[in-house]
């Protein structure tokens, strides 16, 4: 894991630095993988276009769309006023006319400023009209970067509740690329959450096949284990993998299930893991109360009851703003040590 130092100075990790390129070894950061997917989909389908704040000349707050304006021009890379409700409305209206918009939110935090157009219009229009809305809403979410209350939110439950919007939150570059392609090609609204802590930290080999996709709605077991299942997503996949590695030193075998899609949830994969381990720890950055972890916990309790040898534990932050100070943020968000402790308690049951 990278230390937090370079992030602490660096304005919540957002980018003066250029996005960068794949290394000669073919490895790509998560940031690059997202940009590659967007670029290839823009190349593939003329109907795909982007809109958002500062995505053109500036290339986006995190440089995801750097270079897109030069390549695709101002008609397909549109800088908008600071009007999130209208950004979403524009996406919806143009999708009704057959375009396939990708709207960037400068931070996922500001999706709350477009809430009504997202939850009321985007999520509910197709059910009442039959008109498909192939809209992608994307933005950087999550904490661990000293960005405090308004630049660290995990908005997924807000937008899962109303329904009608698929929500993905990849943890690895390859998944990020494959899920973005699926999102752009999906005829339903998709919210695509990019974890800003992962952007420049995690790199791996990423497929170059232009049609490489990761299906929406499928979870993935990132580490096999037999004693306890850790069900998680986003930045916490990496912290869970680190915890699992440490636990293995102590003879505890933890399986790590990466949801990848948080709405709808891949129940089969989750339940199969529980059937194997009989113990479930649900680890989310999404708040505890009515968070994604609550849904996963309730689902396991309802559908894997006969397999459970221990209570379904949730590890998640309390429902309140993410604090700024390092001592507070570290105490507030789940850490590797917290995961290890929870797994040990569960396996002791």
């Amino acid at each position: 894991m990278a230390t937090t130092a370079p992030v602490e100075s660096g304005a919540a990790g957002h980018g003066a630095e250029p996005r960068g390129k794949r290394g000669d070894d073919g490895q790509a950061t998560y940031l690059i993988a997202v940009a590659e997917a967007l670029w290839e989909e823009m190349e593939r389908d003329e109907r795909v276009y982007m809109l958002g704040e500062d995505i053109g000349v500036y290339g986006g707050a995190f440089k995801v769309t750097e270079g897109f304006l030069d390549r695709f021009g101002p008609n397909r890379v549109i800088d908008t006023p600071i009007a999130e409700e209208t950004i979403v409305g524009m996406a919806v209206g143009s999708a009704m006319e057959g375009l396939r918009p990708i709207a960037e939110f400068q931070y996922a935090d500001f999706m709350s400023s477009g809430f009504d157009s997202i939850a009321t219009v985007l999520g509910r229009y197709h059910y009442r009209s039959g008109v498909p809305l192939p809209v992608v809403l994307r933005g950087p979410s999550g904490g661990y970067v000293r960005a405090s209350s308004f630049h660290s939110v995990n908005p997924e439950p807000w937008f899962a509740y109303g329904g009608g919007i698929k929500i993905v939150a990849p943890a690895f570059p390859a998944d990020a690329k494959g899920l973005m392609k699926s999102a752009v090609r999906d005829d339903n609204p998709v919210m695509y959450l990019e974890h800003k802590w992962i952007y420049r930290r995690i790199k791996e080999q990423v497929p170059t096949d232009p049609d490489f996709v990761v299906p929406i709605g499928s979870a993935d077991v990132k580490r096999e284990g037999s004693d306890v299942s850790i069900v998680t997503y986003g930045a916490l996949v990496h912290k869970s993998l680190e915890a699992a590695e440490n636990l293995s030193q102590r003879g505890i075998s933890a399986e790590v299930v990466d949801l990848r899609t948080v709405h709808p949830i891949d129940e089969d994969t989750v339940l199969a893991s529980i059937a194997k381990t009989s113990r479930a720890l649900v680890v989310t950055e999404s708040y505890r109360f009515v968070g994604i972890g609550a849904e996963v916990g309730a689902t396991i309790a309802e559908k894997a009851f006969e397999h459970l040898d221990a209570p379904v534990r949730r590890l998640a932050p309390q429902n309140m703003p993410v604090p700024f100070s390092p001592t507070l943020e570290d105490a507030f968000l789940p850490q590797v040590a917290d995961i290890e402790r929870a797994v040990e308690e569960l396996s002791a049951w």
Partner: protein, 355 residues
């Protein structure tokens, strides 16, 4: 500042009437139909024979018919709960509209929504109304953006009420459309009340039209009692938009003759105000008298027209009550495109008696 709508260009025949006579007669037919529909539906509602809610547009038919008349089939309409008449002009089938009021499968939303929360995008390019005000305004920006990006000369027209102009979405949408010079016409149906709230408690300027200056676009204010004035002002704005000259704001002033919804006796509405408007600004009677004076129609034509309207309503009513309710099992279908609910015919086994 608001400018008066410029007089329309003389048509090919050199006559000063803005539309050929047969179109004028059809316009009267729509005005009459909307008025009659509104009255009959209220009566049925009062008798407890109509489920859900009704939002009367009576007194505002001039605004609804006049604006929608200026649109081509390929243009899109983004209305509110109050604007059913505009949707009928845009092409909605009265039978399917009435099926929607009774929650039947042949309604445009297949029974998923009721009353004027209706639309027919696939057929007539009208947005399926949502309650939140004025939430269709930002969507209209998107449709207009698509026309611009595609290079077509289609136009989007959005309507909302006077009260909705106090909402942030109204500002965002108009501002954004002005920045990008999009082909959209912004109509405000100023019926002088937002539920029980008068204009003076919604904004502190004399007219809504003058607010156009804050967006660098033209603002026009017209009386909704004169359907042709509304039509001409809208046509001018639509032509501007088609020509790539950007948005226009149109304020059409009328009065809401009935309560906000069927249940509202509107005791807050000054009786004299209402009487005056009904006496002088009735868009239906005004237009009828105009056509009679101009000799475009005769009293006999008028009678025939009313018979036609009544027949259309009866046909719609029978169609609606004969249409089955949706099948209970379909309640959760059609949220996601891939389940195919909307791309196939729905089941018709729901029966015609309320479950």
């Amino acid at each position: 500042m608001a400018t008066e709508a410029s007089a329309p260009p003389a048509d090919s025949t050199g006559a000063r009437r803005p539309l050929p006579d047969d179109e004028l007669v059809e316009m009267l037919h729509m005005l009459k139909l909307c008025r009659y529909f509104d009255e009959r539906m209220e009566a049925l509602y009062r008798q407890g024979r109509l489920p859900g809610a009704i939002y009367s547009g009576r007194g505002q038919e001039g605004t609804h018919v006049g604006t929608a008349w200026a649109l081509r089939p390929g243009d899109s309409l983004f209305p509110t709960h109050r604007d059913l008449s505009a949707q009928l002009v845009k092409g909605l089938d009265l039978k399917r509209v009435m099926a929607q009021f009774w929650g039947r499968i042949d309604g445009y939303t297949r029974g998923r929504d009721g009353n004027s929360h209706i639309g027919d995008w696939q057929g007539n390019k009208t947005f399926t109304v949502m309650s939140h005000l004025p939430i269709a305004y930002p969507v209209a920006v998107g449709a207009a953006l698509a026309y611009k990006l595609r290079g077509t000369d289609d136009v989007a027209l959005a309507i909302c009420g006077d009260g909705a102009t106090s909402n942030g979405r109204w500002h965002e949408a108009i501002n954004t459309s002005a920045v990008h010079r999009l082909p959209v016409v912004w109509v405000v149906n100023n019926n002088q009340f937002a539920y029980s709230t008068p204009n003076a408690l919604e904004f502190a300027v004399p007219t809504i039209a003058e607010r156009a200056a804050a967006y660098g676009i033209p603002g026009v204010r017209i009386g909704g009692g004169d359907v042709l004035a509304v039509y001409e002002a809208t046509r001018t704005a639509v032509e501007r938009a088609r020509a790539g000259e950007g948005p226009t704001l149109i304020e059409s002033v009328s009065l809401r003759w009935r309560g906000h919804a069927g249940h509202d006796p509107a005791k807050y509405m000054p009786e004299e105000m209402l009487q005056q408007h009904m006496a002088n600004d009735d868009p239906v009677r005004n237009f009828e008298e105009y056509l009679l004076t101009e000799g475009v129609i005769t009293k006999d034509d008028l009678e025939a027209l009313m018979h036609r309207v009544e027949a259309e309503f009866e046909e719609g009513y029978e169609f609606a009550l004969a249409s089955p309710f949706p099948e209970p099992g379909d309640a959760t279908k059609g949220l996601w495109v891939e389940d195919g609910y909307w791309s196939s015919e729905p089941g018709r086994g729901g029966g015609t008696e309320a479950g």
